[in-house]
């Protein structure tokens, strides 16, 4: 059992009595990229808040690198686990953009010169040089999301956790995010994201966990789970465009083979089909 993260029969309810997690069992390996999906209130955010100890299970255990989170403080867990919150305003609190980055680095116990150097690198990398002395409160929605990301990424944690990373981002920003994900993936980072964005998860994330009512409904390869109509409906999601197109084509009487799952397959299939049609016309 070499899982990096291991949820073992985890139960959790909030002080007001809301039961958020019921008997969660989940293993996540090092270097894996996965998405946690499900309707609002399914317990996704509660689940990821356990990864750095912000919440602790009522019963059951959460192990990170084989160690129970009960034994560690939030501060020390967040050296390994970086959580990027859904609402960037919950993550930003410093007076300037520069201080925001430095706050994350100061608790790492590194030299002043290194803090300066790493801050400058990050500011440049995320395009914040111009705003270094601005207040994070005055940044636009997209920019503040980027700064919240930068404030975690500068700590270089091994496990990256994103809560709704694509929410409120334009296409260009999503692309930048995607490039960053790929870079981190190559560095063998473990990436976990909570998202409602079916297309994004379908195209870019290999594993998905579906949650509903505090339980895990399904766990497996994205292309199998997100194309399963029953599972998708039960977790208030919609099928990816390709699957919907496939259903549409089928209802029009066009036989689409079952092995066509991804967008690229579909494009190839359709272009072949049109080619054939043209030849027949001739």
């Amino acid at each position: 059992m070499n899982s990096l993260i291991y949820f073992q029969g985890v139960n959790f309810s909030y002080p007001n009595g809301t039961i958020a997690l019921k008997e969660i069992n989940l293993k996540i390996n090092k270097g894996e990229t996965m998405a946690i999906m499900g309707q609002n209130g399914a317990g996704k955010t509660t689940l990821i808040r356990m990864l750095n100890g912000l919440l602790r299970p009522n019963s059951g255990r959460v192990l990170i690198e084989g160690k129970d989170i009960i034994a560690s403080t939030i501060g020390s867990l967040s050296k390994k686990v970086g959580i990027i919150f859904q609402n960037p305003m919950h993550q930003l609190f410093s007076n300037t953009v520069e201080e925001e980055i430095k706050f994350s680095l100061k608790s790492l116990d590194i030299s002043k010169d290194e803090i300066e150097q790493r801050t400058n690198t990050i500011l440049k990398e995320y395009g914040f040089e111009r705003y270094a002395s601005h207040s994070p409160m005055n940044l636009s929605g997209g920019e503040s999301k980027k700064l919240a990301l930068a404030s975690i990424m500068c700590r270089d944690p091994d496990i990256l956790v994103f809560d709704e990373p694509t929410l409120g981002q334009d296409a260009n920003e999503i692309n930048i995010f995607l490039n960053m994900l790929e870079k981190e993936y190559r560095k063998q980072k473990t990436i976990i994201m909570v998202t409602h964005n079916v297309e994004f998860a379908f195209e870019h994330v290999p594993r998905v966990v579906l949650m509903t009512g505090g339980r895990i409904l399904a766990d497996g390869p994205t292309n199998r789970i997100l194309t399963n109509e029953m599972l998708v409906n039960r977790s208030s999601l919609i099928l990816p465009q390709v699957s919907r197109l496939k259903l549409g084509l089928k209802s029009m009487g066009l036989e689409v083979p079952d092995n066509i799952i991804m967008k690229a397959d579909m494009v190839k299939f359709l272009s072949n089909y049109f080619e054939l049609q043209k030849m027949e016309e001739k």
Partner: protein, 255 residues
């Protein structure tokens, strides 16, 4: 969670005699108890005043929250005792702790049992302009919101490696300092947002407005008011004649 003592000022709907009193009667109660507490420097009368609050707390089923509010202020009590004992006397220090406890408890009972909406209504009935009455009640409505905000900021700071010491009252106070600036900034920002939201819903566009609920001063409110005024009158008499009171009344800790 170090901010739980803020709960002691948060209204929870309950059906008790105290909760059903008119908010104006309860405001009078908080004010008269504050005046009473300020009239005396002696331990015994302050202690009696303090004890006289306990039946009200029990009737209102507020004991847990009230106790939390006192515990939340324990740091202040320690400072008061230390400074007063150092520069004045232990006797005075204890009297001052009792005085603050009385004022805190009186206002705690007030805020725990008055619905913020009724509070606005009662202020309006006292001829205070609606804008002021509304902002006053809005301020109370935002206390729990700010507590949540503070919790969010603490979570964010810890998620970036800031170590918060868990144990000890001194450490808990220390934890609050890095919270202050971001909390103030976010509160101001929120205030602007709320103002915009209010104006976009035509707040203040008409001089007159409709009130859906009304408040009424009932017999029990008059009884309570009479009790408070009688208590005030009685204590003023005692204050004036303090020198003629029995010796135990002026008792102080022998040093």
């Amino acid at each position: 969670m170090s901010l739980q003592f803020l709960n002691a000022f948060r209204f929870f709907k309950k059906n008790t005699l105290i909760h059903n009193l008119d908010p104006r009667a309860k405001l009078l109660f908080a004010i008269i108890y504050t005046i009473n507490a300020l009239m005396f420097n002696e331990i015994i009368p302050l202690f009696i005043l303090f004890v006289s609050l306990i039946p009200l707390i029990l009737i209102g089923r507020l004991f847990k929250l009230w106790f939390k509010s006192l515990r939340g202020m324990s740091f202040l009590f320690i400072i008061i005792i230390l400074l007063n004992t150092l520069f004045l006397s232990l006797n005075f220090a204890i009297a001052m702790v009792l005085r603050i406890s009385i004022m805190l408890s009186a206002f705690s009972i007030f805020f725990l049992t008055v619905d913020p909406n009724d509070l606005a209504l009662s202020l309006i009935s006292m001829k205070i302009p609606y804008e002021f009455a509304f902002s006053f009640s809005l301020a109370f409505r935002f206390v729990p919101t700010i507590a949540i905000e503070a919790q969010n900021i603490m979570d964010a700071q810890q998620s970036r490696g800031y170590e918060m010491q868990q144990k000890g009252i001194i450490n808990q106070i220390k934890n609050l300092f890095p919270l202050l600036v971001p909390l103030i900034i976010s509160s101001i920002k929120r205030a602007f947002n709320v103002a915009e939201a209010l104006e976009s819903r035509a707040f203040g566009s008409e001089q007159k407005r409709t009130y859906y609920f009304t408040i009424k001063y009932n017999a029990k409110d008059w009884v309570f008011t009479f009790y408070l005024l009688a208590l005030l009158f009685f204590l003023i008499l005692i204050r004036i004649n303090l020198n003629y009171m029995p010796i135990w009344f002026n008792w102080s800790i022998p040093v």
